[in-house]
């Protein structure tokens, strides 16, 4: 990997994490919040692998990336299950409606 490739990847990571962060801030649909979280984690995953290669320890970065993929998938599963149950019990996916103090 060259320095130029590493810079391109870091800029891409910043883009993906930025879009994910924007989604977390600006979206109110619970399922879309999970989508935004997934996008941010994809960026972090890419950053981990690139950092492992840049630091001369590619296998360490890859083994950490496996853990991130598993954790990310479980977060998606639990979040989607939560969204389905919220929709059944509250009747909406709007995260603002989840706050009972605002009713």
């Amino acid at each position: 990997m060259t320095d130029t490739a590493l810079q391109i990847i870091v800029i891409g990571v910043l883009g993906l994490v930025g879009v994910g962060l924007y989604g977390l801030l600006a979206v109110r649909n619970l399922i879309k919040v999970i989508v935004a979280l997934q996008i941010a984690v994809k960026g972090v995953l890419l950053g981990l692998v690139a950092a492992g290669m840049a630091s001369g320890q590619p296998n360490l970065g890859e083994s950490l990336a496996v853990t991130v993929i598993v954790a990310d998938t479980i977060v998606a599963v639990v979040g989607l299950a939560l969204a389905v149950q919220v929709r059944r019990h509250v009747g909406t996916l709007d995260i603002k409606a989840l706050s009972s103090l605002q009713r």
């Binding site: 320095d3 883009g15 930025g18 320890q57 890859e62 998938t73 479980i74 969204a83 996916l93 603002k96």
Partner: protein, 179 residues
């Protein structure tokens, strides 16, 4: 290789923007699958073939199926509401965060030659054995999550069993209907 990396990453960021901006949840899930596929291609180009395959099968396959399944259960909800944070403020906050991160990371970048380290399988199963244990626990948590996803809503159960008077009244009304 740099040109391919740039093209794939621009595509991934565009797919991510479309996933956030799309009005339909199903379209957002498909755009997210596109992000996963492009990121896995980038990983393949970087030389992390194992991670690329796992990301493609899990990120673009399993997670997309789960999203489609959950959207089918929960239903599409037209929600064109303003976010919790005003949009210009969100853009400014994200821009400031990205600039600060880039300002700290980009000048310090530099590739050093590979060090002597254990093979991937040995590193994963022995040196990072604790991670594997945590992953097993997480997978059990995921199984419970899937049960919550596919579990049926509880049926309404009467608070108390019908008494004799209610049963008699029911049988009388049945006789009246038959008569």
């Amino acid at each position: 290789m740099e040109a391919w990396l740039a093209i794939l990453l621009i595509g991934a960021v565009l797919c991510a923007i479309m996933a956030i901006r799309s009005a339909r949840l199903l379209a957002a899930a498909i755009w997210l699958a596109g992000v996963s596929a492009l990121v896995s291609l980038v990983l393949y180009l970087l030389g992390a073939q194992i991670i690329a395959v796992i990301e493609l099968s899990v990120g673009a396959g399993l997670v997309t199926v789960l999203f489609v399944f959950a959207i089918n259960i929960a239903g599409e909800e037209a929600m064109d509401l303003r976010g919790l944070v005003p949009e210009p403020l969100a853009v400014v906050l994200v821009g400031v965060a990205a600039i600060m991160l880039g300002w700290m990371v980009l000048p310090a970048l530099g590739v050093i030659p590979p060090l002597a380290e254990s093979p991937f399988s040995e590193l994963l199963w022995q040196d990072r054995g604790l991670d594997i244990l945590v992953q097993i626990v997480l997978i059990f948590a995921g199984v419970i999550g899937v049960l919550g996803l596919i579990g049926e809503a509880p049926r309404a159960v009467p608070a108390h069993p019908p008494g004799e008077a209610e049963l008699e009244a029911g049988s009388e009304s049945l006789k009246e209907i038959e008569a």
